[in-house]
């Protein structure tokens, strides 16, 4: 099916990945510099997934995210200005500084929030999928969640309901092999989370989550099925996070080896994709560099915006509780 992918789409995916990577690298740095408070869960390494999925979506399609949510919002069209402002806790952030990294969101882009609760997303995505069906749109709702989250009861209940009602929903498991510091083998007795799909009566698919085209194609099929009333799919993307569970170097635990990290970095979604696009004559080194530069520029502007933005007025603390 890769014949379906136009050059524009390929370049679009590339740009989304670069934007995510560039944003995340700087976010990690700013956190280490003490500019960003709280907990930051970086998406570096997993860019192919958000990017390969999101090119299929419009702003009227919904997604729910996880604690590791920047990548999803960026791929969905998030602007770095408001994003950095939010991470800084500024009044100009997407959530007026009230949410921060773990609750970053923008409903206008169809992004129903990062979530501090593991497994918090699937029920909400299922509800948004119901809404798409109820309101007779042809939109879809996508739930991103981790391998660790697949063990939460909330995932189970949401998956069963989505299949029962044949909702336009796609459950995308970003299996990066760990829930915090616990390897998958220590949190479930299965290798493929997709094996849970038949138990709900939906198709389960496994793809290489480091390959944006594989993700693009599998997601495209699942999303098309969802739009056509064929019900949900459980799509598992095997991936890896380069940095620690939280922050960059995190707690400095030795729960995984340097070799393991390096092995996965050989599959880097951006490096390999750029090579592939170069080979196909689609993206010259200069053109690639321009994409990176543009993202870098966007990051600089975003940081500038965040740093010069005002803090929230302390009186705002009790605002926005009720409509």
């Amino acid at each position: 099916m890769s014949s379906e992918i136009t050059d524009d789409i390929l370049l679009d995916i590339h740009r989304r990945m670069v934007r995510i990577r560039t944003f995340e690298e700087r976010a990690g740095k700013m956190m280490e510099d003490g500019k960003i408070p709280g907990a930051l869960h970086l998406y570096v390494g997993q860019e192919a997934i958000a990017s390969g999925v999101m090119v299929h979506l419009s702003n009227e399609d919904y997604i729910t995210s996880t604690h590791r949510g920047h990548g999803h919002l960026i791929a969905k069209g998030g602007e770095f200005t408001y994003m950095f402002a939010e991470l800084y806790g500024k009044a100009t952030g997407y959530c007026k500084g009230k949410g921060g990294s773990m609750h970053i969101s923008n409903l206008e882009l169809g992004m129903l929030g990062a979530n501090g609760i593991v497994g918090g997303g699937p029920p909400i995505a299922m509800g948004a999928a119901f809404s798409c069906k109820f309101r007779k749109t042809s939109n879809v709702s996508i739930s991103f969640f981790g391998d660790g989250a697949s063990n939460e009861g909330a995932f189970h209940e949401a998956a069963n309901m989505a299949a029962l009602y044949k909702l336009p929903c796609v459950f995308i498991c970003e299996n990066n092999g760990y829930g915090e510091y616990t390897p998958q083998a220590n949190h479930q007795a299965i290798v493929d989370v997709a094996d849970r799909a038949p138990g709900y009566g939906m198709p389960g698919v496994v793809v290489d989550g480091m390959d944006p085209i594989a993700v693009y194609e599998a997601a495209g099929e699942a999303i098309a099925r969802a739009r056509e009333g064929g019900g949900p799919t459980l799509l598992e993307c095997k991936t890896y996070r380069y940095y620690d569970h939280v922050g960059v170097r995190g707690m400095g635990l030795s729960y995984r080896t340097d070799e393991e990290v390096e092995q996965w970095q050989l599959k880097d979604p951006i490096v390999n994709f750029e090579a592939r696009l170069a080979e196909q004559g689609l993206l010259s080194p200069e053109a690639a560099q321009a994409v990176h530069d543009e993202a870098q520029q966007e990051v600089d502007t975003g940081i500038e915006f965040a740093e010069t933005s005002p803090n929230p007025d302390p009186a705002a603390v009790t605002e926005d509780v009720y409509a």
Partner: protein, 332 residues
């Protein structure tokens, strides 16, 4: 001479709930009803009877036994333009969906900087007295009143049941409507047309001059019965039905206590850590100098709800216990 008024129509509480839900479904095309056995069966207490027939399976449907999923359905649908009516069959089951209620439903708007609106109405059945034991008899309003972002109302009459449900569904915030399973057959006047009972306004159901009983839910009826008994002791009790616990009508409470100088709060929930603590604290904060006696609290003793009718009868507060506590409080 006044003209003879036609006797207002009376309905049982259960039918008033149904009528409230039906009215909402008629008025709001984006409303739907979801919950365990709410559609085909009409609800285990029958208060959705006829709703499926009238509005069809797209708008009224049964769910799996998945409370977290059900409330999540409400959250996701509400954030994207629907106005869900979600049934959590027994309030005791809120433990199964407390994360959805507390961390998603109540907080999403705030976490998103005010950029989400969650018009979810949750209906749930509370209360002891039916020998349903520890896991089907609880009153857990204290949990949800402590959660900024939620509104919480409790209906003790058919009139209020219908009116509060309509108000809840029109509200753009999540509102939990707590119903009472022992009141289903209770008759009372219910206008046929659509009307609202305002959220945030207490109801003085009996006026009195020298004692205030504050209550909510089914205990309001026990408070009224107690007031009749107290009359014989020279106590002229005002009875306030809070109706809305969140927001709380502190003004109504304080106005009454400033007049009567003595107060009691009565609820069905376990006394320790119950909502009565908040009410008591507010009274003494806002009307300290008016109090002639400590505010008394009547609630369930410190145990789970027992099964045996003999034990349950001891457990659930009633008019006699209210009277006894008032006497103790006032040294009578």
């Amino acid at each position: 001479m006044a003209e003879a008024q036609p006797k207002p129509r009376e309905l049982p509480y259960v039918a008033a709930i149904t009528e409230g839900v039906r009215t909402v479904m008629q008025e709001q095309p984006d409303a739907f009803v979801a919950g365990e056995d709410v559609a085909e069966a009409g609800g285990v207490y029958g208060y959705y009877n006829g709703i499926l027939n009238e509005f069809g399976p797209d708008r009224v449907f049964d769910t799996p036994i998945s409370e977290e999923g059900i409330v999540g359905l409400g959250v996701g649908a509400a954030a994207t333009g629907c106005r869900p009516i979600i049934d959590v069959m027994f309030m005791d089951f809120m433990g199964e969906c407390m994360d959805e209620i507390a961390n998603q439903l109540a907080k999403m708007r705030y976490m998103f900087g005010g950029r989400a609106t969650l018009p979810v109405t949750i209906l749930s059945m509370a209360g002891a007295g039916a020998s349903l034991a520890a896991q089907h008899s609880q009153s857990l309003e204290a949990w949800i009143c402590h959660l900024p972002g939620l509104k919480v109302v409790m209906a003790c009459t058919p009139y209020d049941a219908k009116g509060l449900i309509i108000s809840a569904a029109r509200d753009d915030n999540p509102v939990i409507v707590v119903l009472n399973k022992m009141s289903l057959a209770l008759m009372g006047p219910v206008p046929e047309e659509s009307y609202t009972v305002p959220i945030g306004e207490a109801n003085v159901v009996r006026s009195g001059s020298n004692y205030t009983i504050i209550s909510f839910g089914r205990m309001v009826h026990e408070a009224l019965a107690a007031a009749t008994q107290l009359e014989k002791l020279g106590i002229d009790a005002e009875v306030i039905d809070l109706r809305s616990l969140q927001p709380l009508d502190s003004d109504a409470i304080v106005a009454s206590v400033k007049k009567t100088h003595r107060a009691m709060i009565v609820h069905e929930a376990v006394r320790f850590g119950g909502f009565g603590g908040e009410v008591t604290a507010q009274i003494q904060e806002l009307a300290f100098d008016y109090l002639d006696a400590p505010v008394a609290r009547v609630g369930a003793p410190f145990s789970p709800v027992p099964f045996s009718p003999v034990l349950e009868a001891t457990y659930v507060p009633n008019a006699d216990r209210i009277v006894a506590e008032a006497k103790r409080q006032l040294g009578l």
